[in-house]
Amino acid sequence: MRQPGTKVLAGVAVTLALAGTVNAQETDVTIVLASEPVSLDPCMTAANDNGRVALGNIFNGLTARNPETGALEPALASSWTQLDGNKWEFDLRDGVTFHDGSPLDAEAVKYSIERTLNENLTCETRTKFFAGGEYAVEAADADTIVITTDATDPILPLKMANVMIHPTSVPFDELQRTAPGTGPYVLDDWAAGQRVLLTRYDGYWGETPEVATGKFIWRSESSVRAAMVTQGEADLAPSIAVQDVTEEYGVAYPNAESTRLNLDMLTPPLDDRRIREAIALAIDRDAMLGTVMSSGAEKATQLYHPTTIGWSDEVTMWEYDPERARALLDEAKADGVPIDAPIQFIGRIGHFPGAKDFHEVIAIMLSDVGLNVELEWVEAAVKNRLQVKPFEEGRRAQIFVDQHDNTSGDPVFTLPSRYGSEGAQSKVADPELDQLLKEAAGATGEARVDAWKAAAAKIEEILPDTMLFHMVGYAAIGDGIEYTPTMFTNSSVQLADISLK
Amino acid sequence: MTPEHLRPDSDVVLRVQDLQKHFPLRRAGRHGPGLSIKAVDGVTFDVRRGETIGVVGESGCGKSTLGRAVMRLVEPTGGRIELMGKDITALSRREMRPMRRHVQMVFQDPLSSLNPRMTARQIVEEPLHIFRWGDRASIEKRSAMLFDHVGLPRASLSKHAHEFSGGQRQRIAIARALALNPSVVVCDEAVSALDVSIQAQVLNLLQDLQKELNLAYIFITHDLSVVEYISHRIAVMYLGRIVELADTRALFDQPMHPYTQALMSSAPSRDPRVLGAEREVLAGEVPSPISPPSGCRFRTRCTKAHDRCAVTSPAFRSVGSGHMAACHLNEAGDAPIPDEVV
């Protein structure tokens, strides 16, 4: 106190010395994300920003998917059975307590599901997974819950993996900053703009994870995130750009994202199938791999991963053939298709790492075969508005890059909204396809697989879009931990999956 | 050189009556009465054609403000200014502009009163352009003539102010003031910034021009020897008021106001006879013009002050032929004040 100057200097020295070694305790892990979660409310976890921190860490659903196999596994429900076409019964696990000490019971589950489906809350989970359909939930007894749907819903258990369970003390009509869950970690502290701190929950029902506390921080620049891992300031950076990967710290992983060129097949000249085929032939996917795209990405024929049920291996993989593309265009031109009409190629600012180059390359390739493509960039809000119904009247033909992640393992979250005549962003109105989609959504087992395959074949026949890639992500992983990123890493970073060296 | 005879009234080119200029400091309101600096506080005099009236006083006595108020460069707070028989006190800026050709001004610092980005020709021609003197050729002719008049070589017309010497700059300023054939020229410390030898040249020029053009000067200065040299009549100012006004000879021979006497004795004299003689020195600071002393304003520094001076303000009255002063000491010789003079 007598020498404040010395004290300050000493403090500076200490801070400088500590700067490189933030993780003093070995059981602490720091994870650097691209953006801060906006809400840790249990019904908002379907948004990736929130899910990465909350899913599987703070909250659990009744079911969960195995990150490696994609199979559905018990979580808070120890088992489930389909009572009849419209009715499912879930048996709850015993001995589970919420972070506030209250026990898990059917009332809490009923309350959580109803709150998630509450129309007065704009729950991300409801809008993403429960669009359309009525769900009646009842507690058969303290440990059993029965859900009745208005139409057959064969994948209800899968949907339940996304509904986070919380106690009845959470207000029904009001979104919360966060709530008690059943997960292995409790939200300890959330300093807005700075960090979210999770600490281990001693009453966790599963295996006790190695990591005692997890600190989530965020930096917008990929190069900074990567640098933080190499400098030991962070242990894990789940999503970095390909150019920031170093041999020592970088790991590639399929991130479940798939991309397509979403073509406006309602507006000339894209209303002609030959033009759409020419576009499919004009893209040199092989040249993009290893340059503007990571070489780990895979060329796609469908908008969901091959691990998804009903993925079809009979859909054509379009190969680069500019000559054929030009020929198709000439043919169409001879028939009076206005191939010179300008086509807007609309990119979303900051869509994914490397999106700018990705769009530019495609624009150049399309121009090369003779299409009049104009690249334009818009904000997310604008693109979303343009991509969903009602579509603008009197618009020019539009092309979007659509990136979609279906981690649920079932095409029902992909196809009806994109290709069904009722789909929010669908430009297709084909009664035959509608029928196939409806069948598939209601079917189970082999019938479901076959129905999806038939739908995929029908979609190829119509050729509404050009499929591009199954993308890969990169993670930087520090020396101190062991972690294998999976296709779920983009939507949830589970501290329990991290082991310490 | 003093015109002994009283000229007819029509010869008065400028008449100033009870002129006041107060600079407000605080508006009247909750905090008490308003405060203001009373820079000029009731000044009355007139100027006749072809005459030089010197205004002398210490710095801060309000003589510069008086000059600027006469020019309507500051708005008078009260009183009346008559130029060429026309009341200009309340004219708007726009209405005032045509009157400006009759009254012009020469400032103390020639360098800063001349636009550094204009050539001498542009400076001198500017008033001619403003008053649309004539076409290009006649304006050029006039500016060349003005240059001749003030004794500047025509070759230097295209130079900028900073390229001239101080005396030459003041000649440019004089040429500009004369461009429109004014009747009155206000010279505000016009030679104070110049070397003594240059001062004489400029003063002589001013006198020559006066004879030639029948100009009237209001010559504002703090320098007694200059004012003695050039003026026909002299007004002595103290704290915003004229305390004595007389013909030059009369004032220097027989100063009637203690302030004038003090001023003269404190000034360095070139007269060797005065050297060594006991000099009355002005003691103390000039009181604040915000709250001037009651009664006679000079009483706080006056060696001859008595009780009465603190109570009543002495009237500005005639103490001799055309000689006026405001002092209680002179009241013995009460004489009626002729209207024509005030």
Binding site: L16, A131, A192, G193, I217, K389 | -
Partner: protein
């Protein structure tokens, strides 16, 4: 006199603030319906309608504005759509971070500029002047995001002497402040140098020299005092910019300031947060303007506070 000046300025500032809030309110709504951003693309039209209804976006804009102003007068600035916290709380939490960063940066930049500027101006055209000019101009023309990333790569990654980013002790302040200072120091140095050169060429400095006043007295008493006015003007402008958000530096370094908050709120159409942020930063800027005018008046007696 002073009280009257302050009263008048505060009064006008309040009116301006109200105008600003109304302008932001109306303009922000020109940028479109938040429902397209808040709801995933799978959401149905019914869900979108419910969302709009629940948040009052279906009411006429005037009704929405009236409701906002009425609530704001009761110090209720609305809830953040995303974060489920009162918008004002979010802003007031972030604002001090920005203010501290801005304050330290501008102060240091002023000190450096007021040292280099006059030294360069003293002998215009000298080697020192040329070097100082080029360097300050280079500093003023370097993009800050570039500098920020380069700074991290050099000082944190290669040299390892500073942390890459984040908040914490003294070491965490060095890079963000260093990066922000670059441009401000460069600009201010240029301005101080320019105004110093004019002052040194002015008649009263010449007069002072002629009177034989010592050279350092001329520089410090006359010329420098004049240059301070222009330096303060520039620094004021720069501070305004910083208060309004050192967005880029904040997002690169993960600094939890108001600039980052505001840009996120804008792209997310979180109107309540945008409005609250504008209200707070604008109020602070108006305050700064008043303080600057007082500084001017203190430095230059000729400037009238009317």
């Amino acid at each position: 006199m002073l009280a009257e000046f302050l009263f008048r300025r505060v009064f006008y500032s309040c009116i301006a603030l109200l105008g600003l809030v109304v302008a932001v309110f109306l303009l922000a709504r020109l940028t479109g319906d938040p429902s397209v951003l808040y709801l995933p693309d799978t959401a149905t039209a019914v869900m979108r309608e419910q969302f709009r209804e629940a948040h009052g976006y279906n009411d006429p804009i005037v009704v929405q504005l009236g409701r906002y102003v009425w609530n704001a007068l009761h110090l209720d600035f609305g809830m953040s759509l995303r974060q489920n916290v009162p918008a004002m709380d979010a802003v007031l939490q972030a604002f001090p971070w920005t203010l501290r960063l801005a304050g330290v940066t501008v102060l240091l930049a002023m000190i450096v500029a007021m040292t280099i500027g006059p030294l360069a101006a003293y002998r215009p055209g000298s080697i020192f002047d040329r070097i100082a000019s080029v360097l300050s101009l280079a500093a003023a023309s370097t993009p800050d995001f570039w500098l920020a990333i380069l700074g991290i790569l050099v000082f944190a990654v290669h040299l390892g002497v500073l942390p890459t980013s984040g908040t914490g002790g003294f070491a965490y302040w060095i890079l963000p402040i260093g990066v922000l200072m670059f441009k401000i120091t460069g600009t201010t140095t240029q301005v101080v140098r320019g105004s110093m050169i004019s002052s040194l060429a002015s008649p009263y400095v010449k007069a002072a020299r002629a009177k034989g006043m010592p050279e350092n007295r001329i520089i410090f008493l006359h010329a420098l005092r004049n240059s301070v006015i222009s330096a303060v003007t520039v620094a004021g402008d720069q501070t305004r910019g910083l208060i309004n958000g050192a967005v880029i530096v904040e997002s690169v370094f993960g600094w939890p300031g108001v600039g980052k908050l505001m840009i996120d709120a804008i792209t997310q159409r979180d109107f309540a947060v945008v409005q609250a942020a504008v209200l707070v930063t604008a109020a602070c800027i108006f305050l700064l303007n008043i303080i600057l005018d007082l500084i001017y008046a203190a430095l230059d007696p000729r400037i009238d506070l009317h």
